[in-house]
Symmetry: C2
Subunit: 329 residues, 2 copies
Amino acid sequence: MNITSAHGGGGELTQELIRSIFLKHYGNEILEQMEDAAVLSLPSDRIAFTTDSFVVSPLFFPGGDIGKLAVCGTVNDLLMRGATPLYLSVGFILQEGLAVETLDRIVASMKKAADEANIKIVTGDTKVIEGDGGLFINTSGIGILQTAQKISAQNAKPGDAVLINGELGDHHACILSGRLGFENEIRSDCAPLSRMVEKLLESKLPLHTLRDVTRGGLATVLHEIALSSGVQITVDDAVPLASPAVQGFCEILGLDPLYMANEGKMVLILPSDAAEEAVSVLRTCPYGAGARIIGEVTQTDAPCAALKTRSGGVKRLSPLFGEGLPRIC
Amino acid sequence: MNITSAHGGGGELTQELIRSIFLKHYGNEILEQMEDAAVLSLPSDRIAFTTDSFVVSPLFFPGGDIGKLAVCGTVNDLLMRGATPLYLSVGFILQEGLAVETLDRIVASMKKAADEANIKIVTGDTKVIEGDGGLFINTSGIGILQTAQKISAQNAKPGDAVLINGELGDHHACILSGRLGFENEIRSDCAPLSRMVEKLLESKLPLHTLRDVTRGGLATVLHEIALSSGVQITVDDAVPLASPAVQGFCEILGLDPLYMANEGKMVLILPSDAAEEAVSVLRTCPYGAGARIIGEVTQTDAPCAALKTRSGGVKRLSPLFGEGLPRIC
């Protein structure tokens, strides 16, 4: 069976879709009330709130699918402020002709990712548009802040170290491989980083900045942090930033891992004397096995991200300008 | 200038779009921090949370546009639980070829509606897809509950009266007129109902159920409330439900105002001895000038919505089945 415009009409067929797909997978006591808005209790008066839409093509790829991505992306954005993710909304825009079976697989995948991230899907919406059987997903999330630490892109300080939890470019290379029909072993790194951030918060390390490295890649993210904090952030090119498989892929296509999107990688910035301990904490987590120190924060009058080249020079890293890969997430 | 895929790449052009359009109109101290998630303070530990995507075509129509609709729709969903709307997220999916000037008008309209509804836009996201210059908007909202009243679709009780704040079908008839190229005076009723619900809450009236009458129309909404509450809800056909202009439009096209979508209408259910006072409160509000009692709630073993016909019979009202008007909101 395929989605038709009547599934978005708000009548009996919409209700049927909700019961047979959304409630079947997501079902919980809040969602099942089927109200205009979910009423929720919060054990904190400070929250984090974020939204993200997902338009990735293809819908399924090695390591994930649009549904897993939609859960992980929003969960990770909450985590980057030091919040504990609690509640998720899901808005579907379905194209006519989408197979209900495809939707079912995606919804099941979202439930699995939400369970791993320990976040509850409490409210949703479905619209149908003309098209050729694709879909778009918006997720918005609420998390609570239980720490007084100010974790912010404005908070990187001279003397800090810059860490990353693994190698760069896998998601980007995976989606591009799918688009180009390349067969290789590259899988998306798409993952919820909940457990890792929870461990960091438990460790009481003095975290200054957390940021997930998505569209625009590491160079763009570090550029934004550098500007927000008024510092220079220098990455050491002696540290390999991509796996051999992604590095090889990049060499063929003339891509740079520094500008490639990821969906399970984050930058962590904290005082350098706490950096080794932070690496140890990250490495105890499945998504942090490849954690390492990649750079440092220094004082400057001209905030920027920079790369220390292997020959010892330092070159400025511009943010991504122009294209990027469309529909990467 | 038109939107290109590079505006969704997450790099410099995305930032430029954010600065020149989104921050220009929405700008506030929370949004300007440009973090992965907004950190917010809440003066209550009970919140309402909701999401809605908007795909309406045409983008502009008499009485509103997709942006105003996106703000009002989510604000109204929060209000229907008795919540005070506080924070809004906005997710744009832009099609390549969209004129930046069109986006600018829509964003300005959202800001105006948000100001009227007294809600703050605190976080956002932008993606770009291929297409022919259209756009979709998701809004998610957070409101706080300051009342212990349980306002819910499960809470309609025998002996209650059913009220509505005005005539039905204007939004639906307006969008359909635009789609068909009909020229008439019909304007969408799209409006934020914040002030009206605030006055109801201040009045301390014993509110049982609030529900906005959107997709599927009054018949579908009353059917859902009847099932949730286990009651019969009977509307009196002696009360005219649509304006003469909409009634005329419906007669030409064979439409029924009971099944037509609205964007500024709500059903209010409360004990019948409080109904006249509630009508008075509603009528003090600009969007409630046409408020009246339209029906009653009774006990039943077979929950349903029903219509008392002018000849004195009672016929069951089925929920909308099948089509509806695609891309109405």
